[in-house]
Point group: C2
Chain length 640, copies 2
């Protein structure tokens, strides 16, 4: 088991975790049996698989795009994670065939990129700013590590080590090397992952170089643009903050630019900080974390407020209807939160991770695993979507030309087991509540944890601790930030959850024996959530949340014109499980008021005198919206 230098936690790997709950397990099953196969078909049908044959010639259809490699890589990584959870021969054979193609595509010098081999062979490394070359390399490295860890097969890992060695010969601080770094980050975190899998410190050093070099003056992207004969000022994205290269990373204090890029960078920064014990770099991560999670994040864990540049805007600017909140960005937030959690052991990170997982990530895929959202607004009025784009749609789509999200959510779902537990020398952490079991290595021996729970719908979590032998260690159980009044019993006896809880975890240190039982109860009233007064979009509005689940109103349940619904401050809200709805969810109902549109005269404006009538509203989990008849959706409901 690898240990970080900063913080001592490490995730319990997928192969050691089993999920058999009713919320996630069916999702993961669908992901493996439905989503991964249809995504392969899409990759195949669009030419992304065969592109690895490198036989594309100008004039042929399906010109390989600069980020096609990454789409296939994410799918391969997802397959790796899925195989770590359990065998699937056909899937593995399919992946092996793709890997064989990739291996054959590697150039003699180790280089490996479809576009820059067959489409623009003379442009290798000439435009790091815009062309996703190192980004593709990073995703392939992640795939290689995942596939190797799941199957023990080294083919792709060896290919990617050769490629990494080659990249290391091209980039770095040494004389004669390029001081460049990617416009779209990803390789930083991937190199750390490769380092952790191979123990080859050069990869960590290269990751650190990419992180450190970013945003320094003279600016590499300026020099690179001039070398191409272009004016650096004429950068299409306007400024380097678009790709977080406006300042050296240690000087960055606000989350700027393209949200997915930012998340991948910050994740890489956290990785490098952990492995190199770089507290200054970690401090930058923490500053950026505060900025994102206290000022620039949707209630769903979505981030990146605007479609223009798919980017962050400014503090508290979180419009609902025009929210971009790309699925990939919420996934990136999970990746970053997970890293910060291992270092900081602080429930605030797990809270955000959970928020994104149960809401803004999961909304990106349909219940049947076949359709995807690229953007995840918090209010949708299909009739007003007068400028729909490929990404801005009121219904999930089969695929996208820019297909980053579908394979990204597939790999995230396939890797979900690794987010549930962490282990350290004398500590076992439970971050998420998912029925199932895990085998940890704690106190120098195997400790099995068995979770029984109906979370996120039910309040109770029972954990049975099964160490090989009695052993003293700390069992750290997350007490979610959304929860007030959690209770905790050990072997049936109440212990003070509040007293035990530090930084979001109830930490129980004792000699654990086989069969010891812990029971947690997280009261789950329907909460009315308010946003910070500076979030202008949510002034006078509340969102309904129960447990970690954010709710929304859908037109199919509440009729059109959802924004006219106003929830009285005193309205009682009831939660009720509906087994037949959306795969079995808890719905929230209550009495609200809305104007009587039929009584309104045929004019657009008039003196305030409208009458309201009572209506019963029904809210469903945001993550499950748009799985029935298309229509309006609203998270933040007006309060009357």
């Amino acid at each position: 088991m690898r240990r970080s230098s900063l913080g001592k936690l490490a995730p319990v790997p997928i192969a050691s975790v089993r999920l058999d709950d009713r919320f996630w397990a069916p999702r993961l099953q669908t992901n493996r049996t439905v989503t991964l196969p249809i995504e392969y078909e899409q990759l195949k049908g669009t030419g992304r698989i065969d592109a690895w044959k490198l036989d594309w010639k100008p004039g042929m259809p399906n010109e390989p795009h600069i980020f096609w490699d990454s789409d296939v890589a994410k799918w391969l990584e997802a397959v790796g994670h899925a195989l770590a959870a359990g065998p699937d021969k056909p899937l593995q054979r399919r992946a092996d065939r793709v890997i064989a193609m990739i291996e054959r595509a590697q150039q003699p010098d180790g280089y490996l990129n479809i576009h820059f081999t067959v489409v623009a062979p003379r442009e290798r490394w000439t435009n790091l700013r815009d062309r996703h070359e190192l980004y593709c390399a990073g995703h392939l490295m992640e795939a290689a590590v995942a596939y190797y860890q799941a199957t023990g097969k080294r083919t792709l890992l060896d290919v990617m080590c050769r490629y990494a060695d080659y990249i290391n010969s091209v980039f770095g601080p040494e004389r004669g090397k390029r001081r460049g770094y990617p416009g779209h980050e990803e390789i930083e975190l991937a190199l750390v992952r490769l380092y952790r899998a191979t123990d080859d410190e050069r990869y960590l050093k290269l990751a650190k170089f990419f992180v450190d070099e970013r945003g320094r003056r003279p600016h590499y992207f300026d020099m690179e643009a001039r070398a191409r004969g272009e004016d650096p000022q004429a950068h299409w994205a306007g400024d380097y903050d678009y790709c977080q290269a406006h300042l050296p990373v240690r000087e960055q204090a606000t989350a700027e630019g393209h949200a997915v890029r930012a998340m991948y960078l910050y994740s890489g920064m956290a990785d490098v900080a952990a492995e190199t014990r770089d507290r200054k770099l970690l401090a930058a991560c923490k500053r950026l974390w505060k900025n994102v999670t206290e000022r620039r994040m949707y209630l769903t864990g979505g981030i990146g407020s605007t479609r223009h540049g798919e980017r962050f805007t400014c503090d508290y600017d979180l419009p609902n209807e025009t929210a971009y909140a790309e699925t990939c960005a919420a996934i990136g937030l999970v990746l970053w939160a997970h890293r910060m959690l291992q270092i900081g052991r602080d429930g605030r990170y797990a809270d955000v991770m959970e928020r994104a997982l149960y809401n803004g990530v999961l909304s990106g895929i349909s219940l049947d695993g076949r359709r995807f959202f690229y953007v995840n607004p918090l209010a949708v009025y299909p009739r007003a979507l007068t400028e729909p784009s490929e990404h801005l749609t009121a219904t999930r789509q089969d695929w996208f030309g820019c297909a980053c999200c579908p394979p990204n959510i597939a790999r995230l779902l396939a890797s979900l087991p690794q987010y549930v537990y962490s282990q350290a020398r004398n500590e076992a952490y439970v971050h998420l509540f998912v029925q199932g079991s895990a085998e940890l290595t704690v106190a120098a021996q195997s400790v099995v944890l068995i979770q029984r729970t109906g979370y996120p719908w039910k309040e109770r979590v029972r954990i049975t601790v099964q160490p090989d032998e009695p052993a003293e260690f700390t069992l750290a159980l997350r007490v979610p930030g959304w929860c007030r009044g959690a209770t905790l019993k050990v072997n049936g006896r109440a212990v003070g959850a509040a007293r035990l809880t530090r930084k979001g975890y109830a930490r129980i240190k004792r000699v654990w024996r086989k069969g010891d039982k812990v029971e947690l109860r997280f009261p789950m009233p329907v909460e009315r959530i308010e946003a910070h007064p500076k979030v202008r979009a949510n002034a006078g509005r509340v969102a309904l949340q129960r447990g970690p689940i954010v709710y929304c109103l859908e037109e199919v349940d509440n009729g059109p014109n959802l924004n006219d619904i106003a929830l009285p401050r005193t309205a009682r809200l009831r939660a009720k499980c509906d087994e037949r709805l959306l795969g079995g969810v808890v719905v929230v109902t209550g009495k609200a008021r809305r104007r009587d549109a039929s009584a309104w005269p045929n004019r657009l404006y008039g003196p305030s005198a409208s009458r309201t009538r009572s209506v019963t509203i029904k809210a469903v989990p945001y993550c499950a919206w748009a799985n029935r008849r298309p229509g309006e959706m609203l998270v933040w409901v007006r309060e009357a």
Copy 2:
């Protein structure tokens, strides 16, 4: 005096009207002495004046753009209107010099267009859909008529008649002529104006042809695109509804596409309907009117909800912060309303005309006449304007690359006197309440009307009627749609305003004698205006209006974060004149509540428990916003 065939009203021309009130007269004075000179300097400085020399060659700076002619034309038209109101020798000399340049630029065949003479001489009439050729011609025709009517000088009128004759030889239903029509309408209404000035029926016929031909199948724009070797399906604007050519105009029932184009078309349709007694065409105008004013118009008279295509979207889709509401579109609505009013004699048209004039038009220019808004949102958060464009700004600008708005508002302001009164054989109409006087021809003699009023700030309007000789006619006084409880006195004696009012006008038929006095009183409480329940952007919100004036909150008066302010339903609102503010305006104050942001913990979301505190709000006229320190602005205030 010309009479329309449908309806019998005609506007009382500028030369017969004097305004000497405190609201408009200073605006018109500033327009003549400040705005028109600086606009000339802008036209000159950007090359738009010298372009008429036709000496531009490829490679030289300032390549004449396809719509430069229209910028100069609108400025000339404004000068014409200004000269109709009173002499201004320097302005007239300047205009004469420009007209002389235009005259010299006319080609031997009568053609007159800078771009298609010096930049793209072989592309004449090859792309009516996109290239503004007939649009420019129309604006020059309007300028010619205005200048001729103001000064009696025929130079430009003769030039434009020659050009119109040439256009008439190219376009029309006859064999050998092109069955084309403009992508950007304007020439239709201009040709009717030319017809009214010259009595040459060919111009009316040509206008009618352009109107009738629009949207017919086979589609001219398809044929034209194919002739250029282009795929008609590849039209950049997506569909012909962008330029109202998706259907024959008589079949159009909803306002679609680019809002300015729509307004110019509908104005031309109304003109053609009036002059040709075409009741079917008028019916189409009325249908479109209902759609615009009952479903697609901002409270300010702004229209065109989205920047994407500067266009209408769908019914009730009126977002405030992303409103486009181009200044030119509100001006176009005034032009159309004015025409519908002459035909229909219905106060509904005057109500919309007044709404746009006092709000969404006037917001387009600063109080000092030097700076302009292109877009006029109803909520502005400058810090969140993360994608500002030339047009989307939180402060007025000196000029724009696409400079349609500045000269358009100049010509509208200069022509304002013509909107105040209309006359018919035995009727005198007062549409707007502006202190001053007018000389009408009614009952076959001169009738002077003298208005004394502090409108829009004060409730009372006194009109003295001065016929040459006692004469029986109807004095029709508008009772504004916003007003409840208007009172009316004739020679000091109350008469039933409600009883006399039909279609928005109190119609007093009697023998009028010199010195007869009419007094109107329009109670002006501060009204809370609500929007139709289907306008989702305004659910739970009210706008403050007093008289015709729409109010807004500005950050300079109310602090930042305006959307957090909530106005209790029971809050008393006071109106008070502040002579030192914004040139002297009535401000509205009241008690409201807002959250205590300082008491909010340092987190983005939390259970609903925030405390509010009492604040005094101060609202100022929307038309006068952004004349002080830049900051937030909000029209629709939340109601608590």
